[in-house]
Amino acid sequence: MTPKRKKRLTIILGLVFGTSLIVGLVMFSLSENINLFYSTSQIANGEAPVGARIRAGGMVVDNSIKRSTDSLKVQFAITDYEKQVLVEFTGILPDLFREGQGIIAQGTMDANGVFQADEVLAKHDENYMPPEIAESMKKKQEAAQ
């Protein structure tokens, strides 16, 4: 091999190695860290896997918020106006969390069918309906017709 060819080969090998390393890293991280969205109906029908990290979204049901008196534990129900799912969360809820508001919770389903959230998101806009929730409601309405 001439020195020039050798140089070129090294470049190509380096590029292939580097790219596959990064592609591998990206694919692995993506597969580990995507959270599938489930509507409350899907969860209530048992479609959501138990123990896997998922996102659930819905409207907070009126008068469903129950607070523990001695800790920051709070329980509430969310709905897509068809089925309800109970959510438990420990910590401080976002400012715009309130009844009738669309929220997205991240966490896992426990064995009792309660969604254990470690994060609750409400948008900074009171007229906001998270697209995921809108979409899941829209689908259901189309099915109902």
Binding site: D62, Y81, N127, P130, A134, K138, Q141, A144, Q145
Partner: protein, 178 residues
């Protein structure tokens, strides 16, 4: 050959553009009502200002009306209030209020302060009628025809543009009749 390589960025962008285009068409705002072109649900609920008067669907069937879902906790309702007053002042179309998940005293007070564009107000305290109607949140506005069928649904503030759209729909009915 090297010249062709220079087209790679363009091709990649076109693929990306295609996905963005697709993403745009997934539009969360277009919410067809489950009840579109179906009759307004039956109900029997008290009136907001007269707690002993029971309202039913018969109270507004017979002429086209707007049903406006509102509440005092909803800031956008305050925004659209002026537009509603303007529509009521024109007198071509009656507006029925659907006071949604609200406190009676606060709602009456609101109407006293800001003006009352409504023929009457349905006091849907627990949101049951809203649930039947498929209300996502306030404000929402429904256009009913003389038979009491839902012909159009508007989510969000009734802007001048939205009002024009509603007027255009009504005009459409008139021209069919003639």
């Amino acid at each position: 050959m090297p010249r062709l390589l220079l087209f790679i960025p363009l091709v990649l962008f076109m693929i990306l553009g295609g996905f963005l285009w697709k993403g745009l068409s997934i539009d969360p705002r277009e919410l067809p009502s489950a009840l579109l072109d179906k009759p307004f649900p039956e109900f029997s609920v008290t009136a907001l200002q007269q707690p002993d008067r029971v309202l039913t669907k018969k109270d507004f069937v017979g002429k086209p009306v707007l049903v406006n879902v509102w509440a005092t906790w909803c800031p956008s309702c305050r925004q659209e209030h002026e537009q509603l007053l303007a529509i009521a002042a024109q007198g071509n179309l009656e507006i029925i209020g659907l006071n949604y998940k609200d406190e009676r005293a606060a709602a009456i007070n609101w109407l006293r302060q800001l003006g009352d564009p409504y023929q009457f107000n349905i006091y849907d305290e627990d949101g049951m009628l809203g649930l039947d109607l498929g209300v996502y949140g306030a404000p929402e506005t429904y256009l009913l025809d003389a038979q009491g069928k839902i012909r159009h649904r508007h989510v969000g503030v009734v802007t001048p543009a939205a009002w024009q759209e509603i007027q255009a729909i009504i005009k459409g009915w008139d021209s069919v009749k003639n």
